[in-house]
């Protein structure tokens, strides 16, 4: 594969992620296959077999073991990466908390897929959203390009001394993971220069400085550990911004905490994650051409949740629909809805907010669906009243 920073190359999301992993060249990659993220590990196994990376690849017998091996290797002082989806992430649950509690900067790609039951292999966000409180930084990606760029930045974010938290990069199963998109790759040398060498501050294999991870901590100091972890999570927001800006300066593609589309004077706004933002933008353009004041906001950073920034960006809107590709099953909309609505509580304008659940288990979300939501939002703008606070669309 010829790399040029000018020319583009057609890659699927999975291939692009595997390629970024090759360029990052982690020390250890424990993995277990699951659709739709399998392609990442398969391609990467090829790089390992062909000696194109120095990575120790460990093909374990389940995701429970995969994340356990990630934790062991990272604690030993290695740079560690893996990838999974759906039930795989679910089976890692117990260990996700160990990784964040031990402050191990593991980087994981989660190719979003619905959770069972019923069994389904297609995209929704129930897997990563279920892990939203596991103490991992979470970045969401709209496109193949962004997934590739996010993964490279994730290494820097996770390993930053202000952060030291595991980081998860999410992209939509099949829609992004299996679709070919023309993207710009960064040269191997530039990736290497950008991420730098990994110098773990506390490594088990640094035998001159013996340490212990995960020691028993009862009511005397457990809460202090968690307090530190919480502060690190809060600090990571600034780190994500700074690294996104630095990335932009170096490679011409800047990343912030969210992506705002024709938002400046918008009355009606859709807030939505990942690939569906692309579809929504088409609807926005269509309506803007008719003179309608509509816009879109796509959060990129979900953990930590950038409350102030999102509230500020949305405070000018009159009516907002938050579209979740997952239901929290709390009787009150999806997770993105709840957090956006809560963020807006502090604003003086308090725009009206409604929850719409869409696209579960890979159900298509089309431009007409977005147009339907904008239509509803238009009514809310003119009446000042939300008729249906929450409902499913794309049924």
């Amino acid at each position: 594969m010829a790399i040029t920073t000018k020319g583009q190359i057609g890659l699927t999301g999975n291939t692009a992620i595997a390629y970024a992993m090759k360029q990052i060249n982690p020390d250890v990659c424990p993995a277990y296959p699951i659709t739709p993220s399998t392609g990442i590990i398969e391609d990467f196994a090829g790089f390992v077999a062909d000696g194109e990376v120095d990575t120790e690849m460990i093909t374990v017998e389940s995701e429970h073991s995969a994340m356990s091996a990630c934790i062991g290797a990272e604690a030993a002082g290695a740079r560690v990466m893996t990838a999974t989806s759906s039930q795989g992430l679910a089976l890692m649950w117990e260990m996700l908390y160990i990784a964040s509690g031990m402050r191990l900067p593991i980087v994981l790609t989660n190719v979003n897929r619905a959770l069972s039951a019923p069994i389904n292999i297609h995209c929704d966000h129930s897997d990563s959203m279920g892990a939203r409180d596991a103490g991992w930084v979470q970045l969401y990606s709209e496109t193949v390009q962004e997934a590739y760029d996010n993964l490279i930045q994730a290494i820097r974010i996770a390993e930053h001394t202000d952060v030291l938290l595991p980081t998860m990069v999410c992209l939509d199963g099949f829609i992004t993971s299996h679709a070919i998109e023309n993207i710009s790759l960064i040269s191997d040398a530039d990736v290497k220069g950008f991420i730098g060498a990994y110098k773990p501050a506390h490594a088990l294999l640094d035998v001159e400085h013996p340490i212990t991870y995960g020691a028993m901590s009862l009511p005397d100091n457990y809460i202090e550990f968690k307090h530190e972890q919480s502060r690190a999570m809060a600090r990571s927001k600034a780190v994500v911004s700074a690294i996104g800006a630095e990335f932009g300066k170096k490679f011409g593609r800047s990343y912030g905490l969210f992506d705002a589309y024709r938002l400046e004077d918008a009355d009606s706004v859709i807030v939505i994650l990942n690939s569906a933002a692309g579809t929504t933008k088409v609807a926005v353009d269509e309506l803007r051409a008719q003179g309608k004041k509509v816009g879109m906001l796509r959060p990129r950073l979900f953990r930590p949740f950038p409350f102030e920034e999102l509230a500020k960006a949305l405070s000018g809107a009159k009516a907002i629909a938050v579209l979740d590709r997952v239901d929290s099953m709390n009787g009150f909309g999806g997770p993105l809805f709840n957090e956006i609505r809560s963020a807006l509580y502090e604003t003086d304008s308090r725009p009206k907010v409604m929850s719409r659940i869409y696209g579960l288990g890979g159900r298509d979300y089309k431009v007409k669906d977005a147009l339907g939501v904008y239509d509803e939002l238009g009514k809310v703008v003119s009446t000042g009243k939300v008729e249906t606070l929450q409902k499913y669309i794309t049924l």
């Binding site: 296959p33 659709t35 398969e42 196994a45 089976l91």
Partner: protein, 287 residues
């Protein structure tokens, strides 16, 4: 043309598979040449021989190509999580000890991600029949090596040959405590039907390791010319019946897997022991 009388008697009535299938769920997802369909048919014929009501049979599976089986069959069926079928089945059997509980599982499902459940099910000797579809690969996810992939074989995760020694599923089941352990192949389909029938008739944990072929991944990567070539090489020539093994010279047995019933003993069954204990305690209390 007249058919000789004695030959006529040997012609069996074609088996009506549709009796046990869900026509709406067909065609199945399996690739041409996949062994799973042959195993499914042997299983249906064996169940038919039991002569029990369809509603008293429950077929449970995990996730994988093999684990799609319950979707096609008209019994009580439960399609669960990768590796966990035996645990779900244990729950079903405890709640309904009268029910015939059959677990359909892949070698990856049973022995990698679900290995822990496998050994503990055998240890308890609960009356469940586990049919392990051993194609020596993770078929569904695209041909990664599994715990039964032979040494040196190629998989998508062992491009230059597998260096992890495989499990002998039967030895493991026996060592863990299963009271009926057998091996069959898709190639020896009539023999397989009998073996499955025997397993279903056995009281206690019965495990049938079934060698079947995944031509799409294992076959292509390991240079088998066709599905039939693969069946012949792996299933016909790669195994030898326990009934013949003593009569054959050592060179004809070396490196081959044994077929047939390999282990069969009597040991108290879990649900019965459980019921006894409950009864005993209840009686002690009422006294």
């Amino acid at each position: 043309m007249s058919v000789p009388a004695e030959k006529k008697e040997k012609i069996s009535v074609p088996f009506d598979y549709n009796k046990y299938l869900r026509p709406g769920k067909l065609p199945h997802i399996w690739c041409p040449g996949c062994g799973h369909g042959i195993v499914l048919k042997a299983m249906l014929r064996a169940i038919d021989k039991l002569g029990i009501d369809k509603d008293n049979v429950c077929v449970v599976s995990g996730i994988g190509c093999s684990s799609r089986t319950p979707g096609y069959v008209d019994f009580n069926t439960l399609h669960t999580l990768h590796g966990r079928a035996l645990s779900f089945a244990t729950g079903i059997k405890l709640a309904r000890p009268d029910m015939k509980v059959i677990v359909v599982t892949g070698d990856g499902d049973a022995l990698a991600i679900g290995g822990n459940h496998f050994i503990h099910t055998c240890r308890r000797n609960i009356d469940i029949t586990a049919l392990v579809f051993t194609n020596a690969i993770y078929g569904m996810t695209g041909g990664q090596y599994s715990p039964t992939t032979p040494l040196e074989s190629i998989a998508t995760t062992s491009r230059y040959g597998n260096i992890e020694p495989p499990f002998d599923t039967c030895e493991m089941a026996k060592a863990a405590g299963a009271t009926f352990v057998a091996r069959g192949t898709a190639y020896h389909t009539l023999e397989l039907e009998k073996t499955i029938y025997e397993a279903l008739m056995h009281k206690g944990t019965s495990v049938v390791d079934i060698i079947d072929a995944c031509p799409t991944y294992f076959g292509r990567m390991n240079k088998y010319k066709s599905a039939t070539h693969m069946m012949e090489a792996m299933e016909k020539d790669g195994t030898v019946s326990v009934k013949q093994v003593d009569k054959l010279p050592p060179e004809k047995v070396a490196g081959k897997m044994l077929r047939g019933v390999l282990h069969k003993i009597d040991r108290p069954e879990y649900c019965e022991q459980y019921a006894l204990l409950v009864q005993e305690k209840a009686q002690a209390k009422s006294k």
